[in-house]
Symmetry: C2
Subunit: 242 residues, 2 copies
C-alpha cells in the first residue's frame, strides 16, 4: 500500500531526531515540509526530492504529500518538534479522507516542552499543561480559560507561540491571568532556539516574566508551587523523599 | 569537570531514542537505571558497566550515579520516556546539591504522551494536560483538582500511571470527574506497551473508558470537543480550514 509518514524532527536538527525518524527519512523518496525545516534536513539527507510550501499553506502542503504518495513515492511530511502536538499529524488524517488508498504512519519527536525543559534543567518534572498562545486557530477566550484552569490547579505550564509581531502583548496578558493564582515569585524560564545555533536560557520570576518581551523562537515555562532554582536552572521536583 | 547525563530513552528501546541519546550512551562508561530499562539497553551497548536498583530506590539510584561520576567515570542515568516528565532529572538536580563537583546535563526523550499519541494517530493535536494518577508522591486531592480543571477547560488529557494493583479504581474515579465536564461520547484512547513487543491500541468513548480496566503498562488519552475517529484512529484537529 502507498504510504506517507508524518515525522516529528525534534526541536533542533539531526541530533534531536529519533533513530526511527532518521531511518524512515533515509528510505523516503520525497520529503515535504515548511521551508525552514527542509533547509535543516538537506545537509543530512542530500539525495531526496524536497517539496515545500510557505506558512499558512498547511492544507496544500498535506495534499502535496498525499499526491506524491498516491503516485507511489515513499513520502514524509516533516514537522518541527513532535508530529502530533501543534504538528501536522491531525491535519494529515483529516486530509487523508480524500486519499483512502494512502496509509499514514506517525513517528513522534521531542516537542519543545521536553527539549526546553532539558535546557532549563528539569522545568517540567510533574503534571504539566501545554498551551499555545496563538489565536490564529483557537479563540482567545478558550486560551484564557485554559490558562486560568491550568494556573488554578497548579500545573507546570509550558507556553508555545508566546509571541509574534501581531501578538506582542499576549504573554503579558497570560502572565496577568497566572498571577491571579500563582505567586509573583513563581519560578519561570525562557528558552530560545532550543538545540539550535544561538540557544539561550534564563530563569526569572513570574512577576519579571510579565515585564519581559520574548520572540517567536522562544518557549516559556511557568513553574508550580514546588519549582525552585538549583545551579541557576529551573527544577520541578516530583516529590521524592531525599 | 566530572559529568553525569540524565537521558530520556523514549517509550520503546533503541529506535525511539534520539541520536543524541545514542551518541551520549556510546561515550559513557557507566549506565545507571531501573532494572527493566537497563535490560533493554544491554543489547545495544554491551560494553558498559551497568548499575541498577529496584523500584522505590530512586534517591539511592541518583547517589549511585553521582558517586560514579565523582570518581571520574562518564556516567548516564537513564529514564523511560523523557528525562524530565515523571523522570529523574528533577531528583538528580536535588541530590546534585551534595555533589557540586559533578556537572549535570539533561537529554530529553519522547514521553508516552507523544509516543502513545502517534500510535493512536494524532490523539494529542492541541493543548494538552499530562496528569499522573499515582498518589504515591502527590495527594489525591490535588490530582482530582487537576483532572477537574483540565476537563473544565476542554484540554486533551493524557493520563500516566492510570492503574496499579493498589489503585485499580483510580481510572474510573478520574473518568467520573471527566464526565462532569466532558460528554459521554468524548473520543478516548488506550495504548499499551508503546513501541514495545505487544503494542496495542484502541479507541473508545469516555463512557466506555469508565468501565474499562487497564494495566500499569497503559497510557490513557481523553479527547477534547473536536477529537474524532478517522480510520479507527483518535485524531484531534488543530483547527486548520481544509
Amino acid at each position: 500500500m502507498n504510504k506517507v509518514y508524518v515525522i516529528g524532527m525534534g526541536p533542533g536538527a539531526y541530533e534531536q531526531m529519533t533513530v526511527k525518524a532518521v531511518r524512515t527519512l533515509e528510505k523516503c523518496d520525497v520529503i515535504v515540509g515548511y521551508t525552514v525545516y527542509i533547509e535543516l534536513l538537506k545537509e543530512y539527507f542530500p539525495d531526496k526530492r524536497y517539496l515545500t510550501t510557505s506558512m499558512r499553506q498547511e492544507a496544500a502542503r498535506c495534499r502535496m504529500a498525499f499526491e506524491e504518495a498516491a503516485k507511489g513515492a515513499v513520502t514524509a511530511m516533516v514537522c518541527s518538534g513532535d508530529a502530533g502536538i501543534y504538528g501536522m499529524a491531525g491535519l494529515m488524517y483529516e486530509i487523508g479522507e480524500e486519499y483512502p488508498e494512502v496509509a499514514i504512519e506517525v513517528i513522534p519527536g521531542v516537542t519543545a516542552a521536553l527539549g526546553g525543559s532539558a535546557v532549563l534543567g528539569a522545568a517540567v518534572g510533574h503534571d504539566v499543561s501545554l498551551i499555545s498562545l496563538s489565536d490564529l486557530l483557537t479563540p482567545w477566550e478558550l486560551i484564557e480559560e485554559r490558562l486560568r484552569c491550568a494556573a488554578k490547579a497548579d500545573f507546570v505550564i509550558c507556553l508555545y507561540n508566546p509571541s509574534s509581531r501581531k501578538r506582542s502583548t499576549y504573554l503579558a496578558k497570560a502572565c496577568e491571568i497566572m498571577l491571579e493564582y500563582k505567586a509573583e515569585d513563581t519560578v519561570c524560564g525562557i528558552v530560545k532556539n532550543i538545540a539550535r545555533e544561538g540557544e539561550t536560557m534564563q530563569t526569572l520570576t513570574l512577576k519579571e516574566l510579565k515585564e519581559t518581551t520574548v520572540d517567536m523562537f522562544s518557549t516559556v515555562f511557568i513553574g508550580n508551587k514546588q519549582t525552585k532554582v538549583i545551579r541557576e536552572k529551573m527544577v520541578t521536583p516530583r516529590g521524592y523523599r531525599i
